[in-house]
Symmetry: C2
Subunit: 221 residues, 2 copies
């Protein structure tokens, strides 16, 4: 896929000074990842291809683990009212995949801010940087799921009033329009299940929606 | 119902000095409200009585509107990436009902913080105080929905690091244990629908769950 990034609280300098290698690994994984799709279960568009959060999540996590990252880092007991675990982490970097409902973004940002400010250790490291991975608005997706452009606006507004200090690199996943794109199609045990029973490689072409600002249309080849 | 409150950023003094009447109205509505219940659609406990967010929401909103509060205050266009509207408001007070999924709490807190800091006007008033209404943990409820005790922990942790400055009064809705309790039972058009087709008054008794920390058991009389 293609990526776009927006940096908050000077995460760019921090990455260039301290985490150049780690970022290179993440960037390589994301840009070599095929677009993951699944069938929508939303009435009216049932069966249509939409962005697949679970498949995408699994791909990135598996690749990061191969590169020595820790998956599902447990949140210390005193902060468990903020959630169970963090998607991935290593050497003071936390990575969160945010493809689900939009309010999870600010929840995760505030949680990260607490880890950062409290200097609590996660896998023996204090948090220095948070990388949040989102999908672009261009992809048809489940209702109310977060997209990159919306996340940029939310974090920019909060930055204006200095609500959080933790350095964050926000990443958006995109694809080229009107080009043949490699995909992975995942089939789930049942609707709303997170259990993949089959994955197939394939190809698609993404076209812009007819109305301005509408999602694009994905045609499986 | 019975209520419990926790104040953040000195909302208590602010209420005592400026908003004594407004709080009195809110308190009277909440303490005169019957417990709203509906049938669970979760497999395993299908049909069991659980806390009814939509019915509770509607009751409070209707009563507030009778007292001159504005319902569904539109969020100004420049902040619409943070949501569509605010549940209720008047004279610089915003009220949010938070009975849904837990990440919405921090989303709402950050959104309120932005309204507060930016001094943007909502119904011609700048935001001075936010009142967030939640249900207690004691009620059986849909999976992953926010409860008061969890909200107290989240906001307390954030306050420790001064993440937000907006004065917030967090309200928890409770009921007495082992006493006859008045209820309103709402029947919905279908599962996950927000359209009530019938409401019936009734009574229940709430008993503590057998295990420590488990939800209580509601017996309809």
């Amino acid at each position: 896929m293609e990526i776009e990034v927006t940096d908050f609280n000077d995460s760019e300098s921090l990455i260039n000074q301290e985490f150049r290698h780690e970022w290179y690994v993440i960037e390589t994984i994301l840009t070599s990842m095929p677009l993951h799709l699944k069938a929508s279960s939303q009435s009216g568009i049932e069966g249509n291809p939409i962005f697949d959060p679970v498949g995408t999540n699994q791909f990135i996590k598996t690749e990061l683990v191969k590169q020595g990252w820790y998956p599902n880092i447990p949140i210390p007991k005193i902060y468990q009212f903020l959630g169970k675990d963090i998607d991935c982490g290593k050497t003071g970097i936390l990575i969160e995949f945010k493809f689900s409902n939009y309010p999870f973004l600010l929840n995760n940002v505030l949680r990260s801010e607490l880890f950062f400010k409290s200097k609590i250790t996660l896998q023996s490291e204090v948090t220095q940087l948070v990388i949040i991975i989102t999908k672009a608005k261009m992809f048809p997706a489940s209702n109310s799921t977060l997209y990159y452009e919306q996340a940029v606006k939310q974090l920019t507004a909060l930055t204006k009033y200095k609500v959080f200090d933790v350095p964050i690199r926000l990443v958006g996943l995109f694809e080229k329009i009107e080009e043949t794109t490699t995909i992975v199609w995942s089939q789930y045990e049942q609707q709303r299940s997170r259990k993949i029973i089959q994955q197939k490689q394939g190809q698609c072409i993404i076209s812009l929606g007819k109305k301005q600002n509408s999602r694009s249309i994905i045609k499986i080849l």
